[in-house]
């Protein structure tokens, strides 16, 4: 039976390498968030680094969006006033 390096690294706890199976799992799940990642038939490691890069970029983008939205909201929501129209709408949504 051939012992795959991937299996060995995943069995040792705290290993620093991501196994190929985990990469495949990550890619399939990330595909819902990142449609540009296509099925890469070439080396699994090459697609792993690409997936990681896209993931990091995506997280950074989300962080930036939260920051921008906080900026916008700080100018719009001067008070979460009980009488404000926003409060009424929010109450109906919750």
């Amino acid at each position: 039976m051939s012992s795959r390096r991937a299996r060995q690294s995943s069995s040792s706890s705290g290993s620093s390498r991501i196994s190929d199976d985990q990469i495949i799992e990550l890619v399939s799940k990330l595909r819902q968030f990142l449609p540009e990642i296509r099925d890469n038939r070439r080396s699994n490691k090459a697609s792993a680094s690409k997936v990681l890069q896209e993931t990091c970029n995506y997280i950074r983008n989300l962080h930036r969006e939260v920051d921008d939205l906080s900026e916008r909201l700080s100018q719009l929501l001067s008070t979460i006033d009980a009488d404000s129209p926003e409060a009424a709408i929010i109450r109906s949504l919750i």
Partner: protein
């Protein structure tokens, strides 16, 4: 009409996301009301900070401690909130600016990448291109994994398997947070325009 299995999964995913959005909005608004009543945040930058911090705390709280990233984020954001409150209650307005910077620094410090250790180059015999490419790819994966660890709250102490699971959950929570904040901003802008 029969739905394919993947379609059913998508519907389930959409439903769970919708419930997360509602939970997030509720917690966030409740917290904002609480903070707003006890502290008069009058400057725009103060409001931005409190909006962002409370949004992060709300996003993490609805996880109910189930994920590592949410526990780490609550810890980070709460620290920021405490420092923020202390500075907001101080009488000297001039003192607020430096502490605001330190709040941002405190939250960001967990995400700054640790100093990279220089890899000592050992002279190796020239390898065939196929093997060279594989070791380069391996190094790239390791490097990018480290970047990801710095982006996910609490990521530095995660093993690779947990990192992937936590990342997926964190991304979904971030999407929920962004969607709700964006809807609120658009709605407010629309109301203010009238």
């Amino acid at each position: 009409m029969t739905f394919s299995p993947s379609h059913r999964v998508d519907l389930k995913r959409m439903a769970s996301k919708a419930s997360l959005k509602q939970k997030f909005l509720k917690k966030w608004m409740e917290d904002l009301r609480t903070y707003g009543s006890s502290n008069p945040f009058t400057t725009v930058s103060e409001r931005k900070r409190i909006i962002k911090l409370s949004a992060d705390i709300a996003m993490a709280s609805i996880q109910e401690g189930a994920t590592k990233w949410s526990r780490a984020l609550i810890e980070n954001a709460s620290q920021g909130m405490d420092t923020f409150k202390k500075s907001a209650m101080s009488d000297d307005r001039g003192a607020r600016l430096p502490s605001a910077a330190s709040v941002a620094k405190m939250i960001a410090s967990k995400k700054i990448s640790k100093s990279r250790r220089r890899r000592t180059r050992i002279c190796k015999p020239p390898r065939p291109k196929r093997l060279q490419a594989r070791s380069i790819a391996k190094r790239l994966v390791k490097k990018r994994t480290q970047v990801l660890k710095n982006l996910v709250p609490g990521g530095e102490s995660m093993d690779d398997a947990s990192l992937i699971k936590e990342t997926l959950d964190y991304i979904m929570s971030l999407q929920v947070q962004v969607d709700v904040m964006r809807s609120l901003a658009c709605m407010s802008e629309h109301l203010h325009r009238k």
